[in-house]
């Protein structure tokens, strides 16, 4: 592996000239040719460390993800990657396996590596997050959760849940189970539930019962049968598509036909929900878009531009076949 000094010697010029060649400084055509030739012959590759050591910054954006095996993560990463490439930035992905401790660690490690900025796909924002983000001198964008003190890109969980709730009521459902997640997760656990509640409050005589589960399909599989048995709702609104997929399977295993015997909805709009049978009605979020927005924001921050604290990503209610149309008079 040869260095700029080798190239200079072979080409018979000074190191600085080679450096200038590399960085688009002004050089005569003659020396340009000479250097070009040597470059090709040697297959020279600049040492990124030496470059960064001088330049004091990199074109790398660190992305911290809670998990890799998630549709939402994958799509968001694709959006980030796409946009970053267009701006000549690279992305460095760091996985934390849903461990908040590792999230903090990752922020520190990325800082050491002098990334230009950090995008955090968040699940829960703790005091320690705020603290450390203030300490490091690097811009940070949070995706999926919001916090007054941080820049964030968030899905419109509240409105999406509200719209979905209204749709469900329009279909005549009046005895509904809402299967949510822990309120530690503000976006999924709180906002979606609140939006849904608002829709429910706008109508009289609708019975709703709230249940809680984890993000795991397997847990929904276990919880749903008892909900069906004890509460006997005409529909289960699930806080994520994965929970809905578990509910769908649980219902089938208990001999129920969807949507005739039970209606089910999700949140997310994962590709596979379209392939379920019946297709799942769900509130679709545009993860890839949100990823692009996050990338756009971080690049702006890195360049010292101003951006608004919070950006909302859009959603769409996708109506498929998993919700039955009930005749209200029959109830």
């Amino acid at each position: 592996m040869n260095t700029i000094a080798d190239i200079a010697k072979i080409a018979g010029v000074a190191k600085s000239t080679v450096s200038r060649y590399l960085n688009g400084g002004s050089i005569s055509d003659k020396t340009k040719k000479k250097i070009e030739k040597v470059m090709e012959e040697t297959g020279y590759m600049p040492n990124t460390f030496a470059q960064s050591l001088k330049a004091k910054k990199t074109n790398i954006i660190g992305i911290i993800v809670p998990r890799l095996d998630s549709y939402a993560t994958a799509r968001t990463l694709i959006g980030i990657d796409e946009f970053l490439r267009e701006c000549n930035y690279q992305m460095f992905v760091s996985n934390t396996s849903l461990d908040l401790e590792r999230e903090i660690e990752s922020i520190l490690t990325l800082t050491k590596q002098k990334v230009a900025g950090i995008i955090l796909l968040a699940t829960e924002i703790t005091e320690r997050h705020i603290e450390i983000i203030k300490t490091i001198q690097i811009p940070v964008i949070v995706v999926g959760q919001e916090h007054q003190q941080l820049y964030s890109i968030v899905h419109n969980d509240y409105e999406a849940a509200y719209e979905l709730g209204k749709y469900v009521l329009e279909q005549g459902h009046r005895k509904i189970a809402y299967l949510g997640v822990s309120e530690k997760d503000i976006a999924v656990g709180v906002k979606r539930k609140e939006g849904f509640k608002k829709a429910m409050q706008e109508i009289k005589g609708c019975e709703v019962k709230y249940f809680e589960t984890s993000f795991k399909i397997a847990e929904a599989l276990i919880k749903v049968p008892s909900i069906i048995k004890e509460y006997q709702p005409s529909m289960i609104v699930c806080a994520t598509d994965n929970i809905a997929i578990g509910a769908l399977k649980a219902a089938y295993m208990n001999g129920l036909t969807i949507p005739k015997d039970l209606s089910i909805t999700g949140f997310g709009g994962y590709e596979v929900t379209e392939m379920m049978n019946p297709g799942l009605t769900t509130a679709k979020f545009f993860y890839q878009d949100a990823g692009r927005m996050a990338a756009n924001s971080i690049v702006k921050l890195v360049n010292g531009e101003k951006i608004s604290k919070k950006t909302l990503s859009k959603f769409k209610i996708i109506i498929r076949e998993s919700v039955d149309k009930l005749n209200i008079n029959q109830l």
Copy 2:
């Protein structure tokens, strides 16, 4: 952001002493205490570039993935990440969006960044891959595809397909459609088909017809109805779970009941196949294991240890409900 020189000055020692403190060299308890104190006060963070510039190597392993939104990729990454963390290596993920040109580029970029090794989740290995991998002086492990000249971790596609083929025959199927992918993909396009063919050849009077589609669910959705209509098989063996999911949906949309009217199998063992209705019979590969194996291999190579050119990852036929048991006499 302060440097080793700042720390040294504040603590009243030499830079080299601080460096020694950082790297576990021998120092007296007294100076240790002093430095420790200053470290805490300043919140010192070493500059990774300067470290790497001297040390001439990093603890980073570059991972090149063809796509991010794939179950197989995600699981493999998890396995790699897990193992690498245990060995104090970091992973740097580079996505190519199924663009072979970008794959070559990524190898070059990672080389410039002086990664210690590269793991390539491969789809197709071209001459240019071989060429460039020979050029760079960095160990490379290929996952998912094999090549005589490269180190690889491969799934046992051939045996898996053979076993699955035998199972299908045991269930009495004698008119089978095999829905595969392009033969450019040796593992999925060739090996699986070959293994399946071998099983078919061991029995007489079985009619098999081979079809081809892409990896996309949407394409399977289009192709499958015409296969059903024109060929009327009792079963469709799909080369991936995604294709099988598309087939399942297509069958439903055409009013068929699975497995009574049509049996379907896949390859992969994606988590969601268990949640389909009916559960999909499939050849499960252990992606996370394969990821760990790849990480293990690359660490060995980086440390100059010998490893075998090719390592096989295991598989398991998962029998669920998507294959009907036929009475052969009835045929």
